[in-house]
């Protein structure tokens, strides 16, 4: 085959590949790349319904001195740090536990933990609102009945409890998918390796540490990254349950972006917050890939 013919075949293959990619790429460019570029660009403007004036990095300077933004950033980090480790550890524990059970039991637990994921957020928040209701809620009723508390607690209205109340709901809606993924990943680990280790006298911890955990690393990396991003983007629970209160103690950057953009029409300022959030998520994801990705073997 001469060089020219080979080049033609390769060219055709390349074109066909791009043709297959084109539809997805088109959507990606329109709905991801363009909004990202537009977001960065408009964050440099005093962009409201009335105005579109270039102000350079003034929005970013304003962010630095905005106490509500700082509070929201801290809350966002608390939510991420409070939820991601628990989600990973709990999902791993449940995955390991139910994997060894009968398939019917395994399916039952997968269903139980996945139910909050497929249930609409609004329905989930309505139920939790009832649970947390300070006057008529079941949580206060149970705790008072058990003499654990004497006075009803304002779970969503007391700044000492509100963010933790939100994190608990977030956990229930976040563990479902990791559990499914861990159970699936455990099924892909070569049984002969664990059996050989057990024959050689390895205990359960040694089997987990040296065989299962390395095999679960790619799944763990995915779960950590996705759960981190989802936690950073926690919005609907806040909007539906507390509106960022009490006194901004549950306000997150995503909620603040929503408030500034859609309640106040300060699109440029909101976009600058979005850019900062994207940068933070990008850095953390990079670090996660760097430190957790080293141990990943595909």
């Amino acid at each position: 085959m001469n060089k020219q013919k080979l080049y033609k075949i390769r060219m055709r293959e390349t074109l066909v590949s791009y043709a297959f990619l084109a539809p997805a790429l088109l959507f990606f460019v329109i709905f991801v790349v363009y909004p990202m570029i537009s977001g960065v660009y408009t964050s440099l403007f005093n962009y409201t319904i009335r105005k579109f004036d270039f102000i350079g990095v003034d929005n970013y300077i304003r962010l630095v001195s905005d106490p509500i933004f700082k509070k929201s950033l801290i809350n966002t980090l608390v939510i991420v740090l409070g939820s991601v480790p628990i989600v990973v550890l709990f999902a791993l524990f449940v995955g390991l536990t139910i994997y060894e059970k009968h398939s019917a039991i395994r399916s039952f637990f997968r269903c139980v933990f996945y139910l909050p994921v497929v249930t609409g957020t609004v329905a989930v928040t309505v139920v939790w609102k009832w649970i947390y209701d300070p006057i008529n809620g079941i949580l206060n009723y149970l705790l008072q009945s058990a003499h654990i508390i004497n006075e009803p607690i304002m779970w969503l209205g007391d700044k000492r409890f509100a963010i933790w109340a939100i994190i608990i709901i977030l956990l229930t809606t976040s563990v479902g998918q990791p559990i499914i993924l861990y159970v699936a990943a455990l099924g892909n680990i070569d049984q002969s390796l664990t059996e050989a280790a057990e024959v050689d006298g390895a205990n359960r911890w040694q089997v987990f540490k040296n065989i299962k955990w390395p095999g679960l690393m790619p799944t763990t990396l995915y779960i950590v990254v996705i759960t981190t991003i989802n936690s950073f983007q926690c919005f609907s629970l806040i909007q539906l349950l507390t509106s960022g209160g009490p006194n901004y103690s549950t306000s997150t950057i995503m909620y603040l972006v929503y408030e500034k953009a859609f309640k106040l029409g300060q699109f440029g300022y909101a976009n600058s917050m979005g850019v900062i959030l994207a940068v933070i998520i990008g850095i953390i994801s990079f670090l996660q890939f760097k430190f957790l990705g080293n141990d990943v073997e595909y």
Binding site: F52, Y132, P134, D158, N247, L264
Partner: protein
């Protein structure tokens, strides 16, 4: 495309800015201006019935639903309108108070906003200031302004020389008590049921303490979301005898010593159990507590709210103005329902939208009917008493004399609202009242500057 849209908006905003002044419109001036245009308007009206257009009307649930079906009543209006204007197609879309404002903002940005919106001045005036509305100056005829005969109400529809909202009805926000319960407890004589029912802070304090002693729950001092926040502001303003803003709408004034004292009293009432801490409850939840009979009183109640909840209330409520210091008149906040027209660049649609608004508000049959459906009072005096024989409504209709300065049209009103409930949440969770109130006023005043 987006750049062009932005440029267009900018030009519109600049044009609106040039037209808009800083002062408020005097009702007498309006009468004169409108009178000159009256003849021209009547000439145009001759051909209106042939006007062809398709318009979209977005509606908050201001009209009570018929057969529990959202939009059914509005559909009836459109059918009646089409009998008169058969060539104007009206598409109705119901939006809710929770997500509706964001939907409108998004649609304005995306160039997909409706033609007609039924809302209130707080938001409509902001749309007007943003330059996205068609002015309704020609609808404020001499006859209309004279019929309304209320300068505060007319002013609430204007920015400078342009009218952005056409009002149909209004109603005061008050507080309400469970009258049946007061009778059962033998406490009815602790409220004033004579005349304008005004009462003092001391009388109010005595009553809520008496209710607590009888085992009744107090009102929920709600402070979540933003809905109904005007009720909590009105309560503080009345308890302290301090207005929220100055009359010129250039400054917030609700951090006087009296206001600090009154807010401290509210905080103490919550601590002592005379009121319920609403740091986790919104206005809707607080009303629900009252209409279900679990709370003995509500700090925010209106004829419209009563109208929507009457069927499920198993007791008789009694409306009362907020208590005030001795010798101070109540200063009531009030709702104004009205319409605006978005300038979507089509004169035909704007004309058709105005015809729809005119029909809804002024038609001899549907005008009064529509007002009744909102459970509020007509802005037109000529509609008379639409609630003949209803003691509550007759009383409420008499309260217009206590309407306070309508500050919802102040610059930065939307931003100010985002600071109000966090301030209340802060004081209810123990923050120093004076510091919190001063902080709020500082932020609120900054919001005026931000919106310039």
């Amino acid at each position: 495309m987006k750049k062009r849209a932005l440029s267009l908006m900018l030009v519109m905003a600049m044009t609106a800015g040039m037209l808009a002044g800083c002062g408020t419109k005097d009702a007498a001036d309006t009468k004169e201006d409108a009178g000159k245009e009256e003849t021209a308007k009547e000439e145009v009206k001759e051909d209106d019935t042939d006007l062809e257009a398709e318009i979209t009307w977005w509606n908050y649930p201001n009209f009570a639903a018929v057969d529990e079906t959202a939009g059914k009543y509005e559909q009836g209006i459109i059918e009646a309108f089409n009998e008169k204007y058969p060539n104007i197609k009206v598409n109705i879309e119901m939006i809710d108070f929770a997500s509706g404002p964001e939907k409108v903002t998004n649609a304005i940005q995306g160039g997909t906003v409706c033609d007609v919106l039924f809302d209130a001045p707080g938001r409509i005036i902001q749309y007007g200031k943003d330059g996205v509305l068609a002015d309704l100056d020609d609808m404020f005829t001499e006859e209309f302004v004279a019929d309304v005969d209320n300068e505060k109400l007319i002013n609430a529809c204007y920015v400078g020389d342009n009218a952005w909202m056409y009002p149909i009805s209004s109603a005061p926000f008050l507080m309400a008590f469970n009258k049946t319960q007061l009778e059962e407890f033998g406490l009815l004589d602790m409220i004033n049921l004579e005349g304008d029912r005004s009462w003092t802070v001391d009388q109010y304090q005595a009553l809520i303490k008496a209710l607590k002693e009888k085992g009744a729950n107090g009102a929920v001092m709600f402070c979540v979301s933003q809905g109904g926040d005007q009720g909590t502001r009105a309560m503080l303003a009345n308890l302290s005898g301090t207005p929220i803003t100055n009359d010129d709408l250039t400054e917030y004034t609700i951090n006087s010593d009296a206001a600090v004292e009154a807010l401290q009293m509210i905080v103490d009432n919550v601590k002592d159990g005379y009121m319920l801490n609403g740091s986790a409850q919104d206005g809707t939840a607080s009303i629900e507590e009252f209409v279900s009979g679990r709370s003995s009183n509500a700090i925010l109640f209106s004829p419209g709210v009563y109208n929507n909840n009457k069927a499920k209330m198993e007791f008789e409520p009694v409306f009362l103005p907020f208590p005030t210091p001795e010798g101070v008149d109540p200063a009531l906040e009030y709702l104004i329902d009205g319409f605006c027209v978005f300038d979507n660049g089509d004169e035909n649609k704007i004309a058709a939208s105005k015809l729809l608004i005119d029909f809804i508000c002024n038609d001899a049959e549907w005008g009064p009917k529509n007002v009744v459906q909102t459970g509020t009072f007509p802005v037109r005096q000529s509609f008379g008493n639409l609630y003949e024989g209803d003691e509550n409504m007759t009383y409420l209709a008499s309260l217009t004399k206590y309407y306070s300065t309508y500050y919802n049209t102040i610059d930065g009103f939307a931003e100010m609202r985002t600071y109000w409930f966090p301030m209340l949440q802060a004081v209810l969770s123990g923050e120093d009242v004076k510091t919190a109130l001063d902080g709020f006023v500082e932020q609120a005043n900054q919001s005026i500057a931000n919106a310039q």
